[in-house]
């Protein structure tokens, strides 16, 4: 069994893993990081989106062995000292979630979107989130939340922004 070394949300893990183990199952079952859920088996829904070396990936479509030597951030790694990340806060403020199952992936994909474009238009947000499905909100408030977070994250200083 290959041995991997992965940083996840700031902690380092070394584990022997079966090659077939998916990153999302590694996170959930080996590390207990159940904040990242699984919503499909075809990488359509995006619920399992995490950041790997700062870029969004669907953790159901990455093998744990492929994460060897990488730095992974999940929704559980956002925020500082219990203070939520501006993106998390914006989802709350704009009522951008109902059942919340898509929310971890939606938040991580949104962060990736802002890394690329700190001030996206409504259409750009909709396009940027095309890989993440939500069944509750009709997306309208998600779009608002991302733009709200973008605006807050563009504000200089004052607020700790991770990652």
């Amino acid at each position: 069994m290959p041995r991997i070394r992965v940083e996840v949300d700031g902690a380092t893990y070394e584990d022997d893993v079966e090659p077939r183990l998916l990153l999302v199952h590694y996170l959930r079952e080996r590390l207990g990081k159940v904040g990242t859920p699984v919503g499909c088996d075809t990488s359509n829904c995006g619920a399992c989106t995490v950041l790997m070396d700062g870029m969004s990936v669907k953790s159901c479509s990455v093998l744990a062995v492929q994460a060897d030597g990488r730095d992974v951030t999940t929704v559980e790694g956002l925020g500082v000292n219990g203070v939520p990340h501006p993106m998390q806060r914006a989802f709350h403020e704009e009522h951008a979630l109902q059942c919340g199952y898509c929310t971890p992936g939606m938040i991580m994909a949104s962060l990736d979107l802002l890394r690329e474009d700190p001030d996206p238009s409504e259409d750009e947000v909709r396009e940027g989130l095309e890989g993440n499905l939500c069944r509750c909100t009709g997306y309208q408030n998600i779009v608002k939340a991302v733009r709200r977070a973008a605006s807050e994250m563009r504000e200089p200083a004052g607020q700790e922004v991770t990652p």
């Binding site: 079966e18 359509n44 870029m55 095309e130």
Partner: protein, 284 residues
Amino acid sequence: MIPATFDYVRPASLDDAVTALSDAGEDAKVLAGGQSLMPLLRMRLAIPDALIDLDRVGGLREIRDAGDAIVIGAMATHYQVIRDPLVREHAPLVAETTETVADPAVRHRGTFGGSLAHADPAGDLPAVALALDAVFLVRSVRGEREIPASEFFVDWMTSAMEPDELLVGVRLPKLGAGWGVHYEKFHRTAQAWAIVGVACAVRRSGDGIEDARVALTNMGPAPVRAGAVEVAVKGGPASEDAFRTAAAQAAAGTEPPADLHGSPEYRTHLATVLTARALAAAAG
């Protein structure tokens, strides 16, 4: 679901990779970005004995200038391709089309070479490679060879590569000045595959069309070049009427598939409409 078990090999060099592939035999699969392969593994539609992961093979992600062509390394990600200055300058059709592939997270992992080697007739990039007369650079323990795009896509999910061969890169002739490009993708939702796609490049000269390349996505078991359209527009005016007339032949000789989203008849119709639109957009 959970993939069946497999052996995992992560070669560090190209030599090691082709050796591993040769050693692993026919039931091995090459893991590039894995964005098409992983769902197949999870659904157990693919049950390989071994995966050969190219992730750490040096040099395969490089995109370089090769004089009258550029070479895109097989492991260059879609994300990388879209932003690469060489691609944007010399193969803008590749950049534009790649932006329509899947979604951002998939584009971070998915690779140019992987998409082409997968040879899915609904994939967007094969038609582009065909339209641009790409050359596939292939390697095995037996040596290197080049396969022109016109010979690379053999059948449904089947390329001309032998089981022990690895795609290392794709050479794309530079288009040069005067070319306009467009990829017209027609799909039901953002995530859905193209029902039909048209990859198009035209060189204008004044009010006329000097040269044209047109290839179609999902109009057969492999991408097809719409040769009749190219002939019809070449030397003609750059007008919507001319494009429509030429595009009427877009589906000639194709064998469009039937699926949930369209019958062969509908695809045939779409090919003509979309080809006219693609020509017009490319001609700007």
